[in-house]
């Protein structure tokens, strides 16, 4: 019987390596179909579903848009985006999980006809912490904050701002009513992320909505040209 040996082996892999592999597969399928995927991460009430609805209106006939809605329970958001003009929508109920994982997206793709889409919004579970770690195969990680949530969100949840490809500040029509320090917000985001564009929008007044829709369209056009998000 041979002696047992003990050795130290360097691994240097993410704990979520298995999730990342599934995410890579999802991204390959999306790219083969020419679909740009946008992972929307925000706290509850920041306006994720409203933003998707306004993007649908702004993109109009220029892009065929699908939506994957992630929620702990219920399907009210799926009904909303379909009513707003989404070409297709799938609801994922996590049953309590605080974030979406890549295998949930892989299963949801079975219910979507990717050949009929140009753009896919993935609305993550309302939470600024947990969704940050799970890659879903998206091309663009979009962090959304409402002005009424306060200018200190980057201070309290720095990681999501650090890893996002684009930051969207919603509800700018409320800034004058809620003591939101705009300069402090921008300065904090910039300290964490030098490159991500910051879009300032109002889903009520439509301010800034066309600019964001145009940016997303530009990202979509760059698919297939060795896509790397423009902010990187």
């Amino acid at each position: 019987m041979s002696a047992r040996t003990v050795k130290l082996v360097e691994i240097a892999e993410r704990v979520l390596v298995d999730n990342d592999q599934v995410a890579t597969g999802v991204r390959s399928r999306l790219e083969a179909a020419g679909v740009l995927a946008v992972n929307i991460i925000a706290g509850p009430g920041a306006g994720k579903t409203s933003l998707i609805s306004r993007m649908l209106a702004a993109l109009g006939g220029r892009a065929r848009v699908g939506v994957i809605e992630g929620d702990i329970s219920g399907s009210v958001d799926t009904a909303r985006v379909l009513a707003a003009g989404a070409a297709d929508a799938v609801q994922i109920n996590t049953g309590g999980n605080c974030h979406l994982e890549a295998d949930m997206i892989e299963r949801a793709l079975a219910d979507l006809d990717l050949s009929a889409l140009d753009l896919l919004f993935i609305e993550n579970v309302g939470n600024l912490v947990c969704p940050t770690h799970w890659r879903l195969g998206e091309h663009v990680k979009l962090c959304l904050v409402g002005a009424s949530e306060g200018d200190d969100k980057p201070l309290k949840y720095p990681e999501i701002f650090a890893v996002s490809d684009v930051v969207v500040l919603n509800k700018i029509d409320l800034i004058e009513f809620v003591d939101f320090d705009h300069a402090r917000f921008v300065e904090s985001v910039r300290a964490l992320n030098r490159n991500a564009p910051i879009f300032e929008v109002s889903c009520r007044s439509d301010a800034g909505i066309d600019a964001l829709a145009g940016w997303l369209q530009a990202q979509r056009k760059r698919l297939g040209e060795d896509f790397q998000c423009a902010s990187r």
Binding site: A12, E13, D18, P158
Partner: protein, 114 residues
């Protein structure tokens, strides 16, 4: 906040790597976890004890090295952590640039028995 999911991936990933390496069991798992990753050690260990039985990681020790949110000030040529109120350099007051977002979730190395 999401230790059950993370620990479940951890056990599966280490069990798979250990098998590939021909291990008979895993003695130590050395992790690097950022302070900002939302992972509490006690919860991680609790779920680990729950999920490990029946795998090669059963009985393994977990060591956790913590990284934290760090910035660099180019003018002062120094790194610093956030004050809690802003991300400005405590020395000169200029905004720095993030060098570590403190969100690591890494399996650094494994001590295995073969």
């Amino acid at each position: 906040m999401h230790e059950l999911s993370v620990t479940s991936y951890l056990v599966d990933a280490v069990d798979t790597r250990a098998r590939e390496l021909g291990a008979t069991r895993v003695l130590t798992i050395n992790l690097v976890i950022g302070e900002r990753s939302g992972i509490v050690d006690d919860s991680l260990r609790f779920y680990f004890e729950m999920l490990a039985p029946g795998t090669l990681v059963e009985g393994a020790a977990l060591t956790v090295a913590r990284t934290s949110l760090r910035f660099h000030c180019a003018a002062c040529e120094r790194d610093y952590g956030p004050s809690g109120f802003d991300f400005l350099c405590p020395n000169c007051g200029a905004p720095g640039e993030v060098v570590d977002d403190g969100s690591d979730l890494l399996i650094e190395s494994l001590e295995i028995e073969t």
